[in-house]
Symmetry: C2
Amino acid sequence: MTDATSIVLASRPKGTPSQDNFRQETHALPAPGDGEILVRVIWLSLDPYMRGRMDDAKSYAAPVELDAVMEGGVVGEVLESRAEGLAVGDIVTGSLGWTTHAVARADAVRKIDDPVAPLSTYLGVLGMPGLTAWVGLNKVIEMQQGETVLISAATGAVGGLAGQLAKAKGLRAVGVAGGADKCAFATDTLGYDACLDHRATDAATLRDQIGKAAPDGIDGYFENVGGKTLEAVLPNMAMNGRIAVCGMIAWYNGKGIDEAMPLPAVWRTILTQRLRVQGFLAPDHFHRFPEFIGEVGPLVRDGRIAVREDVAEGLDSAPGKFLEMLEGGNFGKTLVWVGDDP
Amino acid sequence: MTDATSIVLASRPKGTPSQDNFRQETHALPAPGDGEILVRVIWLSLDPYMRGRMDDAKSYAAPVELDAVMEGGVVGEVLESRAEGLAVGDIVTGSLGWTTHAVARADAVRKIDDPVAPLSTYLGVLGMPGLTAWVGLNKVIEMQQGETVLISAATGAVGGLAGQLAKAKGLRAVGVAGGADKCAFATDTLGYDACLDHRATDAATLRDQIGKAAPDGIDGYFENVGGKTLEAVLPNMAMNGRIAVCGMIAWYNGKGIDEAMPLPAVWRTILTQRLRVQGFLAPDHFHRFPEFIGEVGPLVRDGRIAVREDVAEGLDSAPGKFLEMLEGGNFGKTLVWVGDDP
């Protein structure tokens, strides 16, 4: 018998979540059945989409049930296996939740063979956030050499890779991030041509700053945040521009919803500029993992992609770290280090 | 010397336009110069986009200048020609304005050879509105057999053809129109599977009615109106649905803009349903005219497309008819009969 310590959803937040919405529990796991494995978690990923799972609202995925383990991607080590193709000691990744240990069906995980980079990157640049950045630029925005892209949350798990991929393809990349330190990192380390600090300004000024940083307009907007940034970007969209709607963290806690830009103005811009606005979610594109890894894996292996991680230690730090991330307090890919590398 | 009687823009409207914004004038035309023709107008088209041209605001086309002739598409007869390829008696179409006569460069018009249907249809189902319907369904929504489309302004110049083209391709077509008579025409004559009267209900009820008329959701929304209809359609959009943003007449006069649906809710639907929202304008697709005419021309010639026109007689009736159309008072393609057929 193995004990698992987990973070469960204790109650649903109204607006901004708090520590009270989470509860830590320890319980004995059943032994793995046929086709199942027992996994020890090494890394837990914290991502903005998890905020949506805390609400009991219709969304693209079912909400986390009350008293159930919070949803989350992990990298872990197989401790026991009753599944073909997976052996003790194998490293796997999958959505096993905020927990130290889990029993899972083998088809719920993906084996990581011969990792080309530290295991944590399989939750970041080589995991779902990385796939999201790559799909957003290549399949939704369909970036073309010589174009200008604007990437919000420019140093985050998704944005940080998106900016570097855009530069690698020869585009002009403008970032928007929260804070002077993040903006310096965006231009100095990630290679953005410019980065604007949305915390230092209002929407109208940000709009003018974007206009100066992208004098020919924005051909592709990688939308991770909504809110004030969206309001500042829209009037700067170039003719035939594309907006990849990937997230809207600024609105997740309900703030600013009433003051948001009126819909008719947005609809008018879509029409007059012939914009294409497209929502997309990484899980719809999991079949593209081989193509994505084939292209981005070597870049990461050779150190040509800068990786910045913001790590909290110990599962019990997950709720606090998650709340911090929702307010933009993270700097780079947010992770929880749950247990030692093998 | 030929006298032309024209309607000019006398002043810019604030909100809903009125007769005061227009003025009728008669002036002598210059003789056509090299490469020019003199045209006598037979039919003038009235279209919602003209409302945008009355404002002095940045849009996809320059505004009409004060005291200049109102912009508009016409069909007319060549009275004099100093241009190669055009002879006296030829029938041409082009954007010559709200006028009885005009001198124009030959490359500003398109010659109509061997018309397959009455000349007025070259401003409707075989003109820009028809091209708009065809492009919206085929190139923007990319309709597929078995899908469901919803078409607002279902009996208008664009919507009336869009519904019939969707049915011809084997889709389920749901219309939204203003009034019981228009809805009866939509189902009985145009072949819509269902039509909902937005004047008879509020947005919430309309939303539920759409849900019943499209039980599998809306795959393609042909957006001509914005406003309450958009609000009622959005929650009914199917996964991977497409919205072709073609117009938003409900908002053109500034009404209801403050009460419009909040942007965050729209953005969330785009994300969770993976929608593609795309603005488009017919002039970007003029190169598709031959393909469009090749497909739709024979349908019109053979009487397989129902054509309904709402005709005012005499150029001086144009302002009043235009104002009526903006309020949805037209029924079918709005036209002004300016002068006799040749």
